[in-house]
Symmetry: C2
Subunit: 191 residues, 2 copies
Amino acid sequence: MPRPSLKDTRTDEILEAFMRCVARYGLDGSTLERISEEAGIGRPLLRHYLGNREQMVAQFIDYVTRKFDGMTTELFDALPETNRMDVLIGALFGREDYQPDNAAVFQAMVAASDRYPGIRASLLKFITGFEERVAGEIQRQKPQADAGSCAIAASGLTAIYFNTAAIMPLKPENHWQNRQRQAAQRLLENL
Amino acid sequence: MPRPSLKDTRTDEILEAFMRCVARYGLDGSTLERISEEAGIGRPLLRHYLGNREQMVAQFIDYVTRKFDGMTTELFDALPETNRMDVLIGALFGREDYQPDNAAVFQAMVAASDRYPGIRASLLKFITGFEERVAGEIQRQKPQADAGSCAIAASGLTAIYFNTAAIMPLKPENHWQNRQRQAAQRLLENL
DNA sequence: TGATTAATTTACAATATTGACAATAAACGA
DNA sequence: TCGTTTATTGTCAATATTGTAAATTAATCA
C-alpha cells in the first residue's frame, strides 16, 4: 500500500556520485552540496537516505570496499580458459574503458586513512587480494616457476598497474602507457 | 631602517604546512585555518604573506614543482661514483627517512589537475624527468643494453617506486615492501 | 476516492570558511 | 628617543557548509 521505496536505487546513485566527487575533490573536499548536485537530487535527500555526513562516509567506505572487491572478482572471473595472462594484461593496460575515478578514489582514501579507521585494513586487504590473484595467474601460466618469484612478479605488475591507473588523469602520452605495459610484461619473462 | 623581513622564511614555513595539509586533506580540504594552525601562525598572516586563497594555491603549485625537481636532482647528484644503481635502489626503497607526504601531495595534485591548469604539465614533466634519470643510471650500469630496454626498465622501476611511496600511509608490512623492491630489481636483470 | 507510506521540497539555525581591513607590537637605524 | 617599516593580532562581514525539522507531493492499494 505504501509508495514504492527507492532507497536502494537512490542509495546507489548517491554513493556513485560520492565516488566521483571524492575522485576529484578528495574526501574532505566532497561537500554534501557537491554530492547532491552530482547525483542530481536535493541535498536533504542525502540525509533522508544515508543520514548525516559521518554516517554517509561510513557507508561510502563500505560501498567502495565492496565495489573494489566486486570489480576484482569480476575481472578475474571473466578471463578465458586459455591465454589468460595476455587477456589480463590487455584488460589492465588497455585504454578502452578506462575509469580513472577508481584509482583516484583509492588514492583519496589512502590520504584519509589515518583519520577514518577501517580504511587502512580495507585497502590493504584489497591490495594483497589483488596481488594474490595475479600471482595465481602467473603461476598458472608458468607452473614450473617457484611461488616466491611469482609473488614478486605479481607484486611488481600490480604496482605498475596501480601507478598507471593513478596517473591516467594526467592524460599521459600513449608511448608512456606502452612502456608501462612493456615493463609489466618484462616481469613475466624469465620465470 | 625597517624591521627585518621574514617574508622568505614565513613563506616557506607556510608552504611547507600547506604541503602537509594537502597530503592529509587534499587540495580542497586544506582550509586556511588548518594551514595556519599547521604552520603555527595566525590565519591573517597567510594573507599577509601569500595573498588570498587563489594566489596561495598558485604559489603552492609552483613551490611543489620546484621542490620535486630539487629533490630529484639532489637524489641523483648524491649517488657515488661506483655502485650507483644499488645506492639508488636503496634510497628509493629503503625505509629510513621516509616522507610519505610527498607522494600524497603528488596524488592530491593529480586529482586536482583538471581544475588547476598548470598542474598537469608540471607533473608530467616531473615524471618523465625522473624516468630519464633512472634510465640514464641503468644505461650507465649496462652499457651494452639498448636504450629502449633501459627506458622500459626505468619506467617500470619508477612506477613501482611511485606506487610504493603512495601506499606508505597504509603502513604495509615489511615483506610487502621487500617484494616491491625485489620486483624493481628484477627489471634490471636480463638486460 | 481515501488511507498510508515514502519521496521530495522548503525553511531555518548553527557552524565553518574566507575576505578584508584596522589596530597594535616589534625591530631597526638615525 | 623617534620615525619607518614590517610582523602580528583583532575584528567584522559575506559566504559556504552542515544539521534538522516541518510541510508538501507522489505513488500504491483497499
